[in-house]
């Protein structure tokens, strides 16, 4: 088990900067996720930790040991690849035993440990199969077993669930978490799927354009995004540009051109993200935080509009409200029976609660 410390990491491919001045510390035993859209530098960072790329600048440290230019085979990390990278000419047993054989573990010991780990991933009855005879989920578990059996200091998972279907993905998510807790290994997980990130991680780092935008627990990331990119990338949100107008005792009042009115926001660190005075500002409000009613609502931040679209997705009902004939506000409510569904064209009132709004600066590229 190890901590991972990345300091001032920069990676250039030709003239393209894939990762820019990255500073990260991953704690011992932590389940840490790199989240971001494709091409944001998350896989590049993972590969620098595994040793397949060397950073152009900066240092990679495991515990206090400098690993920056140590070749991959000497790092003792266990990696699960996106396509699993199982050796097609070997059986399940031989695949899992590979790392132990390289480490010159005795035959009896290899047999014991491989059987043990295959039991853990519930594949013990497939031990003599060729890997091509396994299903996607089973192959995935072989890859996981192969990485775990060498007792790595760090487990690296590169979008391991992206090739599986939805149901299997849920199952494997639980499986991976269970194994990670059982072994207590420092784990770095790369994904572009926010649901995976939110549900599995101790902490998340959100990447965009080769930069880490925010590091935090899933609730911090979701509730207190530092900029509009994070707010928009994680979960659904309504984002509107706003301008500062005035400050009152415990509120800040902004003006929104699109809503054509004032927006009151509670003046707390939970509602107002850190920003410079020169930054362009946006307000973000989650669809589930918005109140919608056919009767006139009282208080601040109330706007009237017409229902544009009602989408029923089972547990939730999404209602799109057109405000000011120009701006669409997404709202979400739990399903409470057909009598509560709004009809398209109905005039409604929406309320944006002042303590539910998050004011964020525009992300810099």
């Amino acid at each position: 088990m190890s901590t991972v410390h990345l300091s001032e990491i920069t990676k250039q491919f030709g003239s393209v900067e894939a990762v820019k001045k990255l500073e990260l510390t991953i704690k011992e035993g932590e389940f840490f996720t790199f989240l971001g859209p494709s091409g944001c530098g998350k896989t590049t960072t993972l590969r620098m930790i595994a040793g397949f790329y060397y950073p152009t600048k900066g240092k990679v440290k495991f515990n206090e040991k400098d690993m920056t230019t140590v070749p991959p085979e000497k790092r003792n990390t266990g990696m699960v690849f996106q396509n699993y990278a199982l050796f097609p000419h070997m059986t399940v047993f031989e695949n899992v035993a590979f790392g132990l054989k390289v480490r010159k573990v005795s035959k009896a010991e290899i047999k014991k440990r491989v059987e043990e780990v295959l039991k853990k991933v519930r594949l013990d009855q497939y031990i003599e199969r060729q890997v091509s005879q396994l299903s996607g989920g089973q192959q995935q578990r072989v890859a996981l077993a192969r990485a775990l059996v060498i007792e790595p200091d760090i487990l690296l998972l590169d979008e391991p669930l992206s090739n599986l279907d939805a149901r299997l993905r849920d199952e494997m998510r639980a499986e991976i978490l269970r194994l990670q807790r059982e072994y207590g290994i420092t784990t770095i997980y790369v994904t572009h799927d926010q649901v995976e990130a939110l549900s599995m991680s101790d902490r998340i780092a959100v990447f965009n354009f080769g930069e880490c935008q925010q590091v935090g627990t899933p609730t911090e990331i979701y509730n207190e995004p530092v900029n509009d990119f994070v707010a928009e990338f994680i979960g659904e949100t309504n984002l509107l540009p706003i301008q500062f107008e005035q400050k009152t005792e415990n509120q800040i009042i902004y003006h929104s051109e699109q809503l054509n009115g004032a927006v009151h926001v509670q003046n707390t660190t939970g509602n107002i993200a850190k920003h410079e005075e020169s930054d362009a500002l946006l307000m973000s409000i989650r669809p589930e935080a918005i109140m919608v009613s056919t009767e006139e609502l009282t208080g601040e931040n109330v706007f009237s509009g017409t229902v544009e679209l009602v989408q029923f997705t089972g547990a939730a009902v999404h209602t799109t409200v057109m405000v000011n004939n120009s701006i669409k506000i997404q709202t979400t409510g739990l399903n409470q029976g057909p009598s509560t569904y709004l009809k398209a064209g109905t005039t409604v009132y929406v309320k944006l609660p002042a303590d539910q709004i998050r004011v964020v600066p525009k992300a810099k590229e």
């Binding site: 991959p72 990390t77 266990g78 990696m79 690849f81 990278a85 050796f87 097609p88 390289v102 192969r146």
Partner: protein, 561 residues
């Protein structure tokens, strides 16, 4: 910073570069230089002679080569494409069997094939004479020779290129594409011309270019059948025999230019359009033929095709049983025995060529096996400057006609050089294994490349991540995965090396004469039985190797081309 990866790349590249520069680039340059020399002084005289009025023969030979090659492409396509359609699109009794027979010409080495055709359809051939006797004619009704002979032999030996590319294209064609076209209201005719045929074109173009290049380089057929007819590959041989190395070099350069420009055109064409199918899980769909008339006419067609295709093999087998002196002036052979095969084990002079062929083929195959793996790995999995150049260097011996490769080696190694460790190689045993090695290296590199490109980089990374060093990964992971590709390339190299004739005839000595050369000698002495017996030995060796490869390594011969 020179990191470990770069060091490994350089270590891999050193042997590859040395081999390719020493045995491909340097000989080609020597030939080029030689072609600009007249009596040892630099001049353009040779080229003026070539295109000038003084030696019209050369220019005529160039024109004939091109002309024959174009016709060969036409006739090979005319046979190969319809056969592929019939055997892959329709289901009728014996289909699988006939389609296996259809690739039989490839097990016949070129010289042996030509020889069998001569026995069968030549002036003293069995078929024309049999017809003459049956119909009581004065003269033989027909016989092959000259241009018609060359063309028939070319069509017979080269149609499999069309047959195989069309078959594989048809099998890879997603049937839903045609179904989609029908669904949108196209007629059968329209679907064929607007959907099926355009999707076959890349394969057809590739096959056409391949057949064109192979015919340009063809040596055995003109050698035995041309009579007075001139083609360029043969002219090179005559110039060399007459001792005019400078003219031979000039002719080689011109033939190379034609061949290489075709190779470049082929690469350009293949890179231009992407016809690969996006869809997965394609099952070949064949329509079962229900109309009994059509069904039995297809079976008849299959049987006739089978007889025509196997007649050369059968003739060879029968004639190999004819002892010396039993078929000289007679129309038909008069006696049969196992004499010719017995002599192999009793007369060391008869056994020697077989021994030489085996030793030299094994040596060359061992070389191409090792260097094929290294070269292909460096080309596919490593990044370095000059990769394109290396890629072209590897493919040059494949594009060059065999006669030219032979000439290059003669001109490079008839004097001491660094690459021959200061020795003169021409006239020694080693020049022929070297020639085979150079000629067949591209076969292994090509088939290995195909497998290596399929292998995801993450496989190697996974091994490394689990703690394996580079060499361990290479040995235990990479090599086992690419082995089928390497083996099928090596197999093809062996098959071709055993039957090799054009470079052998330029480079052999008494001490290393291979089977093909002995066949030529026996033919010259009108000892047809012994020549056929040698031919059978070549065919037998090839069949054994193919069988072993298929049985023990699962390598299918038809996949190797």
């Amino acid at each position: 910073m020179l990191n470990a990866e770069k060091r490994k790349t350089i270590l891999l590249l050193i042997p590859v570069a040395l081999i390719l520069i020493g045995y491909v680039l340097y000989p080609s340059i020597e030939t080029m230089l030689e072609s600009f020399k007249k009596n040892g002084v630099f001049s353009l005289q040779n080229y003026q002679d070539f295109f000038g009025a003084k030696s019209a023969a050369n220019f005529e030979a160039l024109w004939n080569s091109v002309y024959i090659s174009l016709l060969s492409v036409f006739f090979s396509a005319l046979i190969g494409v319809p056969l592929a359609f019939v055997f892959n699109r329709y289901d009728f009794p014996g289909r699988q069997f006939f389609s296996n027979i259809a690739i039989m010409p490839i097990v016949l080495p070129s010289l042996v094939g030509v020889m069998a055709f001569m026995f069968l359809y030549g002036e003293a051939g069995l078929v024309p004479n049999a017809i003459k006797d049956i119909l009581h004619l004065e003269n033989v009704p027909f016989s092959i020779g000259g241009i018609s002979g060359i063309l028939i032999v070319h069509a017979y030996t080269m149609y499999p290129y069309f047959y195989m590319t069309t078959s594989s294209a048809l099998n890879n064609l997603d049937p839903s594409l045609e179904e989609a076209a029908f669904n949108l209201g196209s007629s059968r005719f329209k679907v064929f011309w607007k959907v099926t045929f355009p999707l076959l074109t890349p394969g057809l173009v590739a096959a056409s270019l391949l057949v064109f290049m192979v015919s340009m380089a063809s040596f055995s057929a003109p050698f035995l059948l041309a009579g007075g007819y001139r083609v360029l590959s043969l002219q090179i041989y005559f110039s060399k025999i007459n001792g005019d190395l400078e003219m031979a070099a000039t002719q080689s350069v011109i033939l190379s230019v034609v061949s290489i420009s075709f190779l470049l055109f082929m690469r350009w064409y293949q890179g231009r359009k992407d016809y690969r199918m996006a869809s997965k899980g394609i099952g070949a769909h064949r329509s079962e033929v229900n109309n009994p008339l059509l069904k039995w006419s297809m079976v008849t067609l299959g049987i006739i095709a089978m007889i025509v295709l196997l007649l050369p093999h059968v003739t060879l087998l029968v004639l190999s049983l004819v002892p010396e002196g039993a078929w000289t002036w007679q129309t038909y052979p008069t006696a049969f025995s196992l004499e010719n095969f017995k002599l192999l084990f009793e007369d060391p002079n008869i056994w020697d060529p077989v021994k030489h062929s085996l030793i030299m083929s094994f040596l060359a195959c061992f070389g191409v096996f090792i260097f094929g793996i290294i070269t292909s790995y460096a080309l596919v999995k490593r990044k370095f400057i000059g990769k394109n150049l290396l890629d072209i260097l590897v493919m040059i011996p494949w594009a060059l006609p065999a006669t030219v490769v032979g000439m290059n080696l003669i001109l490079a190694f008839n004097e001491p050089s660094v690459f021959s460790f200061g020795k003169i190689l021409v006239g020694t045993f080693w020049i022929l294994p070297l020639a085979y090695f150079v000629r067949f290296l591209p076969l292994v590199v090509r088939s290995t490349n195909a497998v290596l490109e399929q292998m995801d980089d993450s496989i190697e990374e996974a091994a490394q991540n689990l703690g394996a060093k580079w060499f361990y990964t290479f040995r235990r992971v990479v090599i086992p995965i690419i082995m089928p590709g390497v083996l099928s390339g090596t197999l093809l190299a062996f098959v071709q090396a055993v039957g090799e004739f054009p470079t052998s005839v330029l480079l052999y000595t008494l001490g290393n004469r291979p089977i093909s050369i002995e066949i030529m000698n026996q033919l010259r002495m009108f000892n047809l039985g012994q020549a056929a017996a040698y031919g059978m030995i070549q065919v037998g060796l090839i069949a054994i190797v193919m069988f072993i490869a298929y049985r023990f390594f699962g390598v299918k011969t038809e996949n190797t081309l």
